[in-house]
Structure formats: C-alpha cells, structure tokens
C-alpha cells in the first residue's frame, strides 16, 4: 500500500474532461513530478489533491486516510503556488507562523518552529521583512517554509519556479530537492519544464489530455519514451514514421514498428570520406541503422554541437559534445550516420 493513492480521478469543466480516470500512487518520501504542457490536467490534479478543485469521481487517499471529501483546511497538505501567494500584510515571521497560529499553538512553540524553518530556508535575520521587500526567490523560499512548518503529509508544488529567472530557478530547485530529502517529505511537483522534471524527480508522470501517458524514473522517461507525444515533449528526439523512412537512404531499419524515436546524442556522425579510409576502425554496421546524408546546419548550444543532416530530404538532428566531433564536418559535408540498434526505439503514434 502506497502512501498516496489516487484512484480513477475524473474531473470536467463545462463538459470538457480535464482528468480522465487518473490513477497513481506515491511512496512515502518520494518526489514525483507531473509533467506536461499547459492544459494537460497536471495542475488540476494537484489542486484536486489539495481539495481546491472538487473532483467528479474517484478517490484520494493520503497516509491511509481518505481525504476525497475533506475541505482543504482539514487535509493537512502543504502547497506552494507559482505566484508565491504570501500574505502581503504580514512579514516573513508572521507568514510562516500563520498556519501554526491557526492550529492554536502557543507563542513559544511557534517561535521555535518558525526559527527552525528560517534556518532551513537560510533567511535568518530577515524575519521582519515584508514580501514586497524581498526578491522572488526569497519569497518562494518563505512560501516553502510556510507550507513545511506545519509538517504536512504531502507537499504540493504548483510550478513554483516558473516566475523566477533561470539562474535562481536552477539554484532553488536544487535547494527544494535538498530540503525535501532532509525532511523525507512526500512531494508532488508540477511543471511544464522537462529539464526541471528530469533533474529533481524520483519519478515522473507525463500527462496528456487528462491521462497519464507514461510514468517512470527520469532516465526511463528520457531514454525510453513509449509514445510519440512523450518523445516530442521530453527532448529533441528525432521522431519518424515508417512511411517517412521508406525510400530514403536508411539501411538496417527493423521490420517491426510504425514509428520510431532516436535521441540526437545516440547517433554517431562521421565524415563519409574519412569513414571510407578508416573502415576497419568503425563499429560493425550490422547491429545498427546506417544512413548517408549531407550536413545542412551546424550550431553550438554551449556544451553541445548540433548538426542538422538531410538524409534524402529527411532532417536528422545529431548532437555531439562540443569539441568531440571531427572538425571537418561543416555545412555541405557528406556524412555517414550510425544508430546502434538499441537506440532505435519503436514508439506508439499519438493522435
């Protein structure tokens, strides 16, 4: 029995089904991410766990307690909002202490708990500040502390980093993960940013049109997408249908499967002429897929060098680590592409 059990949750707004019999379970202390584009139902699911959106059908159980029909304030779940949602008329201390006051705790215990939290979020000495006197990153840390101080059974994070700039976003997501591990806090994180999801999660649930398209560890999701939707959403996958490949210069394509996904960094690119000269050194081609093409574009994305290669009119994206590809390969170069058989992933086409 898992710590959080969501069973067959269904929710519609104006006859538009936003959650369609969604089921998932989360272990205690696990950090899971609901990932998907806007409108996929991830925030609605999170708000359903919080009790902010009542659900039409299904059940939600946390720590062995059925909370499906409880009002938000009886659920003991913590939530952090994208817009921080700090109370503007209260300083940092009072914001963090709010939930404890609502629970009727004594002043001394409140002070002790708030100070403990301030130490965790590294804002000691700033307890007198008001929200408008702080940066977005600081405000979000206060919001996190405000949720955590009540020791909730589940922590819900609704795109908490989306309003912050890139640098703060990266450092804060690391901080959130660290605090979550330290407190062994069961956490549900909602984001549309696949990089964020891959970096922080124990498990990822990719959502699409109100259903969970794929669930798995970050490396499973990244290396083995099950559908066209996940492959297109998760990275820069090359996604081809069998029809697209037919009649083009690919050799060794497996006989089964209607659609395929290949990670750009799994493709080996070599200069066609150099290949011919040093044929003996290369990997045996029999176990993979080989294609001949012509480079149309080379771009540097920091540590990645990206090639756009035309294989009889079909575009193939190839990534290498910057500085690790043969220098001679520039736009117009004839190249040979090699894809190991295990990197050629058959996927389910999406509507």
């Amino acid at each position: 029995m898992s710590f959080v059990n969501i069973r067959d949750v269904t929710k519609s707004f104006h006859r538009n089904t936003v959650l369609n019999r969604v089921s998932l379970s989360i272990e205690e202390g696990e950090f899971i991410t609901l990932l998907g584009p806007s409108g996929c139902g991830k925030s609605t699911l999170l708000r359903a766990i919080a009790g902010l959106n009542p659900i039409d059908e299904g059940s939600i159980e946390v720590g062995g307690r059925d909370i499906t029909h409880l009002p938000p304030r009886k659920r003991n779940v913590g939530m952090v909002f994208q817009s921080y949602a700090l109370f503007p008329n209260m300083n940092v201390f009072d914001n963090i202490a709010f939930g404890l006051k609502m629970d009727g705790l004594g002043k001394d215990r409140i002070r002790a708990k708030v100070e403990e939290m301030l130490a965790i979020i590294d804002l000691k000495g700033k307890e007198g500040r008001y929200p408008h006197q702080m940066s977005g990153g600081q405000q979000q840390r206060v919001a996190l502390a405000r949720s955590l101080v009540k020791n909730p059974t589940v922590l819900l994070l609704d795109e908490p980093l989306s309003a912050l700039d890139a640098k703060i976003r990266r450092s804060l997501r690391g901080e959130i993960r660290q605090i979550q591990r330290r407190l062994n806090m069961t956490t549900v994180f909602v984001t549309h940013d696949q990089e964020e999801a891959l970096t922080v999660s124990d498990r990822i649930f990719v959502m699409n049109h109100g259903v969970i398209e794929q669930a798995g560890s970050p490396s499973e999701i990244y290396t083995s997408p099950v559908s066209e939707y996940v492959a297109r959403f998760i990275g820069n996958y090359n996604v081809w249908s069998r029809e697209q490949l037919q009649g083009r210069a690919f050799r060794g394509v497996p006989g089964e499967g209607a659609m395929f996904a290949v990670r750009p960094e799994a493709i080996r690119i070599t200069d066609a002429q150099a290949q011919a000269q040093a044929a003996a050194d290369t990997a045996p081609e029999g176990e993979g897929i080989v294609a001949d093409g012509k480079v149309s574009l080379v771009s540097i994305l920091g540590n990645i060098q990206r090639y756009e290669v035309e294989v009889s009119g079909l575009r193939v994206t190839v990534d290498t680590l910057s500085g690790h590809a043969p220098d001679r390969i520039g736009p117009g170069a004839e190249v040979k592409l090699y894809i190991p058989a295990e990197e050629w992933k058959p996927i389910r086409p999406s509507a």
Partner: protein, 283 residues
C-alpha cells in the same frame, strides 16, 4: 543639450500658465478673500474673531455643524459597508457582468444633486408613488417622512454607495484567489481569512474611501437644499442662505462657517492620512 532641455522646460511651464491663472482666479483668490472676510465685522470692516466665536457657540450654528458631521458620518458609514459588499460581489461576476455593473455605478454616481432629490420626492414624498402605494396597501409603517433626518440620511446614503463602489472596487479586485487558497490550506476558515488578511489588506482602501465619502456628504448642498430647503439645519445650507437667501447677505459669517467646514475636512483628511499610514504598514 542643456540649453535645449531648459528651453523645453520653459515651454512646458508656459503651457501651465493658463492652468495656474485659472486656479488662482477661481480657487486660491476666493479662498484668500473668504479667509480675510471671515475676520471682518459685519459690514466688512476691522478685524475680529467674533464671527468664529459666534460660529462655534451660537446654537443655530453648532447644531448645523453637529447635524452635518453626524449625517456625513452616518451616510459614509452606511455607504462604505454596502459598497464593500456590493463591490466584492462584483468581483465574483463574469467580466461582462462586472463591467456592466461598474458602468451602472458610474452613471449612478453622477446622478446626484437636485435631480436625485426630485427622484426621491416622486417616490417617497408626501404624495410620492411609493408612499401612496404603501398607504393603500395598508402598510403605512413603510412610508416615512422624506423631509427629516431619516429622509436625508437615506438620500445621502444613496448617492454615497455608487461613489463608494467605484472607489473600493480596485482594492477588492487586488485580493488574490491564491491568498484565500493558501490560507485555507494552512487551516484558516473564510472568516479567519477576512479577519487576518482580507480586511487588513483592504483597510487603506476602506479608510480612504470613507474619508472621501465623508467629505462628499459634508459638502453636499444641492441635494439637501432641494429636499429640505431650510427646514433642516445643515452647515452648507446655513452658508448658502447667508450668501444668497437672506435680505442682506452676511458674507463674513458665511466665510467663517466655510472656514470651519474647511477645518473639519482637513482634520478628517489628517486622521485618514494617519490611519492609512498605520494600515499600509507592510503593504
């Protein structure tokens, strides 16, 4: 560049000259004349504090001051309470319905003075539509005398509400749904949310609106005059009758009463400012 900047500034200032002239001729100059006149004897001679002494001690004038302050406080209070609830309900409407209600409030806020007084007379006057109707229906207790404090209070509250709605609406609109959600997840009931977050956040807006409504009522003349002429003793009506109503105008007494009115409003604004500073702490 510096030369061009300063010449540009000169042009800007020149463009403001008509405005300042206008301000001087129709606001500053009359105010100064009024202030001077308030220290003169009847007949406009000499220097005396007698007009003020009379204004602050004579029962006729102290009653007028008291009536005006009480009526303004009452109508501002009723106005603020009702407009807070009305404006809050607007925030829950769809955008279209909300805009329509705000337009109606805007229109109603301009419906004041003599037309409003006549509107009330037609409905609630001695032979008003509703008065007659209530009597015919055997509900005479619903009819009341419009030409008394009660009637004035009703009419004043009526013209305060749309003004109040328009002024308080932006503050209510700024109350964010996420605050309510966050508070409820932290264990607060709806009442606790309003007590600890909603009302404190709204307080500057409420206090500011209250003082505007108070000033609005203190200075209201046409509505009161059309309704009760001189049957009810109010400060603006006293001032008006001295300037234009009596056989011999008493400009000096009128001036001193006007200065007293001005001082009351200044005190009200000062209190408002102090309260705002308290309420704004942290906002």
């Amino acid at each position: 560049m510096a030369g061009r900047g300063s010449s540009q500034r000169t042009v800007t200032l020149l463009l403001l000259v008509p405005f300042f002239l206008w301000l001087f001729a129709f606001l500053l100059l009359p105010a100064i004349m009024m202030l001077i006149s308030s220290f003169r004897n009847e007949g406009g001679q000499g220097f005396t504090l007698g007009q003020y002494a009379k204004g602050l001690t004579h029962p006729l004038y102290t009653t007028a001051i008291r009536n005006s302050v009480l009526l303004s406080l009452f109508s501002a209070f009723v106005g603020i309470v009702l407009s807070v609830f009305a404006a809050y309900s607007f925030t829950t409407f769809s955008a279209k319905a909300r805009d329509r209600m705000l337009s109606i409030s805007n229109m109603m806020s301009n419906f004041s003075g003599v037309p409003l007084a006549f509107g009330f007379m037609v409905l609630f006057g001695t032979n008003g539509l509703l008065t007659v109707l209530f009597k015919r229906l055997g509900l005479p207790f619903l009819a009341f005398d419009l030409y008394t404090w009660k009637g004035l209070a009703l009419v004043y509250a009526y013209f305060q509400i749309p003004v109040g709605i328009l002024m308080i609406y932006p503050s209510l609109y700024a109350i964010r749904q996420e605050w309510k959600e966050a508070a409820s997840l932290l264990g607060a009931s709806a009442a606790q949310f309003w007590q600890r977050i909603g009302v404190p956040v709204l307080l500057p807006g409420i206090v500011g609106t209250f003082s505007v409504l108070f000033a609005n009522a203190m200075g209201a003349y046409a509505t009161a005059y059309a309704l009760v002429t001189s049957n009810y003793n109010l400060l603006p009506i006293q001032i008006g009758s001295m300037v234009s109503g009596e056989v011999f105008p008493r400009m000096e007494m009128a001036s001193s009463l006007a200065v007293i009115l001005f001082v009351i409003l200044t005190i009200a604004l000062w209190i408002n400012e102090r309260m705002l500073r308290l309420a704004r702490k942290g906002l």
